[in-house]
Amino acid sequence: MGYFGNVFGGFGSLLSGMSVTLRKFSQTVIRRKAVTMQYPKELPELAPAYRSAIKLIRFEESNSHDCVACKACERICPSYCIKLSGGKVEGIKKKRVAEFEMDFALCSLCGLCLDVCPTDTLEYSKVYEEAGYNRDWRVDLLAEFRDYEEEFVAKQRVIEEKAAAEKKAKAEAAKKAKEAKKKAEADEKADNDSKEELS
């Protein structure tokens, strides 16, 4: 390419670039195809895997969470943002969590706590707009469960008593069956003995 070739070739490439931007311009103006999402006026559709602060799952059958205060999540948390305590509750055998706090300002949403939870009672909440107004941004995970705790304990007691009764009944039944079997065996043995004696 000579001098003029360079000049006109370069000019042509500029024009082709300008045709691209003009095309985009007319697309936006005519077809109203702007890609902007007008955030406070419209919200994005949250993905199924969306991660926000962790929360306790409310199970349908018990109408409460299933946290047994094993502290596995507190131990695994890389940012040490989970604080929980709990243990034996009066009246039921099952251990329950008494305090479950999480400092969302520290959380890095890695999800390790969800992985280690033995009862699978943790999940991500789907809150999109969150802001902390303190450096200390504590979330009380038990807030929505407190009112139901008594109810849960009562229910759990019934369940446990029922379970205990069932277990007892089962144990007794098993015992009976065992005795019956023993007896039958003994009878058989006696029979055999007598037969042997006879022969």
Binding site: L14, S16, G17, S19, V35, Y50, G111
Partner: protein, 372 residues
């Protein structure tokens, strides 16, 4: 430097570029000695975003270090996150289910494209082209949305687990990814028309900032910057990991070593990544995403181990020293940007001020990755 030597060089003055400067990506600080607009010496100063990731690794167990990995290089967080998982898996002999291998390849390559697109945009922004920057961010946004579907985060993914991944991909994800491939191919054509063919860009980049093969090798430059200097080194081919040997893709190589070559290499790598994703979507099997049997604690055997993956910027290596417990004695991260940047003083000397911006932009440094 004494005033005598300054006087002998003529009207030399120093310009302190960064750490707060519109085109110093992140917090790079360049101390430039200038004669007029000509750069005589350039000295990169690093350390403005040191977060002690390596020290943190020595104080927590292997699993707890997972969220840190994607924060080393936030632009290709997925590659770092999964790379760390792969390192530990190889060390402990954990078998990864087939489906998880394919999912990992897909998200890795999507992340690589996203990183290259961001580089493309910011590089053009450095050269003064604002519109291509927004177009490429539009494309990148699509990738982030797709990855958000499965990982729940947009940049600092903590998607990998030892032995697999946290969330299974569904049909929607795969169709969206396929649709994205069609879209990005069409857009690449548009970028060629708008940017690559543009005479101003060609004038700005061709023959500027040549990194010779010898210089690149002596400083340990890796990734697209090395491949633009004529060395066909890609960890995915050289030491295949994570199932990359199953896919058919090329390692693009150019020999010019200039800014334009680095530009072309990355564009072609986007195309190659598209090819890999296409094959992976085609061949993805059904099945589990995490192995059934897993050790409860990931205890590192005694000894020293090294594992490397190909990040969007080059050879990312992890040097792990174990002592039998599940807390590493030492976890050294070999990050590509550091070596790539260290070749800069020699490359920048003798260029124009405007070229300095273009060259530093073209090697695609991520400062938090250098400082760690």
């Amino acid at each position: 430097m004494s005033s005598d030597s300054q006087a002998s060089e003529g009207e030399v003055y120093s310009l302190n570029m960064g750490p707060q400067h519109p085109s110093m990506h992140g917090v790079l600080r360049l101390l430039l000695d200038l004669r007029g607009e000509e750069v005589i010496r350039a000295k990169p100063v690093i350390g403005y975003s040191h977060r002690a990731h390596e020290k943190m690794a020595e104080n927590r167990n292997t699993l707890q270090f997972l969220p840190n990995t994607s924060r080393v290089d936030y632009l290709s967080g997925m590659i770092y996150n999964l790379g760390y998982c792969q390192a530990i898996e190889k060390l402990l002999g954990i078998d990864v289910p087939e489906r998880a291998i394919y999912i990992r390849v897909i998200v890795n390559e999507l992340n690589r494209i996203a990183s290259h697109l961001l580089w493309f945009g910011t590089f053009l922004l450095d050269l003064g082209g604002i519109t291509p920057f927004l177009y490429s961010f539009d494309d990148r946004e699509e990738i982030l949305d797709i990855l958000d579907q499965v990982t729940g985060s947009r940049l600092t993914y903590c998607y990998g687990r030892f032995g697999g991944v946290t969330w299974d991909v569904d049909e929607t994800f795969l169709t969206r990814a396929t649709a994205f491939l069609a879209r990005i191919r069409e857009r690449l054509h548009m970028y060629k028309q708008l940017v690559t063919d543009n005479v101003i860009l060609r004038e700005r980049c061709t023959g500027v900032g040549v990194v010779s093969e010898a210089l690149a090798k002596s400083y340990g430059v890796t990734g697209p910057s090395l491949r633009a200097s004529g060395v066909a080194y890609d960890v995915r081919k050289a030491e295949p990991y994570g199932g990359y040997d199953r896919f058919d893709f090329e390692v693009p190589v150019l020999h010019e070593g200039d800014t334009m070559a680095r530009f072309h290499i990355r564009i072609r790598e986007i195309e190659e990544s598209c090819k890999i994703i296409e094959q992976a979507i085609e061949a993805i099997p059904e099945g589990e995403i995490l192995p059934k049997k897993m050790p409860k604690r990931f205890k590192l055997p005694e000894g020293e181990y090294y594992f490397a993956v190909e990040s969007a910027r080059g050879h990312f290596g992890m040097y792990i020293v174990g002592d039998g417990s599940d807390i590493p004695v030492k976890l050294k991260l070999r990050t590509p940007s550091f070596s790539n940047l260290s070749a800069m003083p020699e490359t920048l000397a003798g260029t124009m001020l405007a070229d300095t911006i273009a060259i530093v932009g073209s090697i695609d440094v991520v400062m938090p990755e250098i400082d760690r």
